[in-house]
Subunit: 326 residues, 2 copies
């Protein structure tokens, strides 16, 4: 079967680094791209000058390699960021927290591949109609901002809904997850949590330690009441948010409490920060470097090929039989 | 690699039918067991006489084949049900909604295999220490009562935590899901939603139609406020429960609203029932019979073997490297 992601992005391995705001800077993105994956600078709410600087750092670390940027569409400065990325001609833009509809044409004209993160099959199909080059189907086991569907249920349904490549995200931290994603029909994987502990990642030591020590049940979802659920590790901050959320009548009252919480975590505030991480934090037991992660996940993904072909062929047989019968 | 589930249960295919209360009767369980899977009669809150009758029906439909029963541990009659199952000498007991600790010895002495459903690795390890023969690791994409972790994140972490066989549940409805479960390390799959539409399933036609028409995003979780979250299809009942849950100060006030809601769905009350189903409802496009489902999922599971071995071997290599280094 065809795995179109490397050819589409001009990369060697179909491993995309998640666009984690405050975390994914030029050093991390450059290390991933230099290792043959797709490094992604997270624009988050950063100033334009920071974004430009980090893309330059990534490119200097990975000369000639593709480099991507992630755009958070709720950002009030999204228009200027969209234009900056056109000027910088990054290779790929991944988008989160909304629909990138109004930017797709602009980016594609600049030769940028556009890859929205989706959490539902219908949205994936709409993105394909609007010209997206691929979609990232992200399950709710992921860290950070999440949807409702799990990777296991979402990826095959998105694959059935679109013809463009589907990249699986959420729940992938080792060879088993990467191989399973391939078997579900994905043509690439996006990984966030596993990159938090690598040496090129800028987060404070306390953040890395929390991930390395996490058990499977150590994540919690805050922010459901605001309509913007976020998964992170349990700590004093997330426990107190959960308890405030239970009693609140107007969720907007809480907005000030979420503000700045991720930045505090990245900078090492153990009890006052929001340590975004996925349910696979419990599988992350090593630090290592970005190149180790790219190679481990790329090999895992390739290990899924044999079973992906076998499962796809069984499915086609079942569907053909169904059509013949009725 | 070894897939111990068929030998352990005395069945041909490592496909276990979910113990869906009000749904999984002797006719469905018998059809699954006759096809070489493990059919499971759901004891739910049914009278002892009904349970005895349904086990007899299942056995008559599948002479000589293994038949299981599911016990909901919150049931106030659980002691009498536990003793009845000893007397009936069912082959396997699966348990949900609590810890079966106090029954394990009794059941094992009667030659019954004990298989708790778990939603966390630590609970799986505890069940192994208490003598469980296998565990079902069920992700939150499943229908009915759910935990917090997804199948993709949960199954590998449970596999790392126990030596007994792990059966994956949640998010599995076709060959891709079954193969992916194998790749994640499972030695069998438990499937619920996909059995709802088969001809041997007793649910009303309107229930089957709702599953067949469902899109990926058509499930919703009610009951989070009560500490007993349940996934089902969106309808008037689930929407009104969600809105009541938002405003309630004492969740116990709502208990009467949940009571009887599943039974109403099974009997065909389109707007007033709780149509429990998983996020894979959107993948279920066929009716067919139980034997079709067992054979499709069993072939899918077998298709996962090649990649499961490859991924396990990569993982072992990475871990050995990590130990050498550190």
């Amino acid at each position: 079967m065809d795995t179109r992601v490397p050819g589409l992005f001009g990369i060697e391995h179909p491993v995309i680094q998640g666009g984690m705001a405050w975390v994914a800077d030029g050093r991390l993105a450059g290390a991933v791209s230099a290792a043959g994956g797709l490094g992604v600078v997270a624009c988050g709410a950063a100033p334009l000058s920071w974004i430009e600087e980090q893309v330059a750092i990534a490119r200097s670390l990975a000369p000639g390699a593709a480099v991507g940027a992630n755009v958070m569409l709720m950002n009030p400065d999204v228009e200027s960021i969209a234009d900056l990325l056109v000027r910088l001609r990054v290779d790929v833009v991944t988008t989160g927290a909304g629909s990138p509809a109004r930017f797709i044409e602009r980016w594609k004209e600049a030769g940028i591949k556009v890859v929205p993160v989706v959490a539902q099959a219908a949205l994936a199909a709409r993105m394909e109609r609007l010209g997206a080059d691929a979609v990232i189907a992200e399950g709710c086991e992921a860290g950070g901002h999440i949807g409702e569907m799990s990777t296991m249920a979402l990826v095959p349904q998105v694959c059935d809904a679109v013809s463009i490549p589907v990249i699986a995200a959420g729940g992938i931290a080792d060879a088993r997850g990467a191989a399973a994603a391939r078997v579900l029909g994905a043509e690439g994987v996006q990984v966030g949590t596993r990159f938090l502990t690598v040496e090129e990642c800028r987060v404070a030591e306390v953040y890395k330690d929390k991930v390395l020590r996490a058990k499977d049940s150590d994540t919690i979802v805050t922010g459901r009441v605001t309509g913007h659920p976020v998964r992170g590790l349990k700590n004093a901050w997330s426990r107190s948010m959960k308890s405030l959320e239970r009693g609140v009548s107007d969720p907007h009252e809480l907005e000030g409490m979420y503000a700045g919480s991720l930045r505090r975590a990245v900078e090492g505030d153990a009890e006052g920060g929001s340590f975004m991480a996925g349910q696979v934090a419990g599988l992350v037991k090593a630090r290592g470097c970005a190149a180790d992660v790219v190679s481990e996940l790329s090999e895992g993904f390739a290990a899924g090929e044999a079973s992906a072909c076998a499962a796809a062929s069984l499915l086609a047989g079942v569907r053909e039989g169904g059509e013949r019968r009725g």
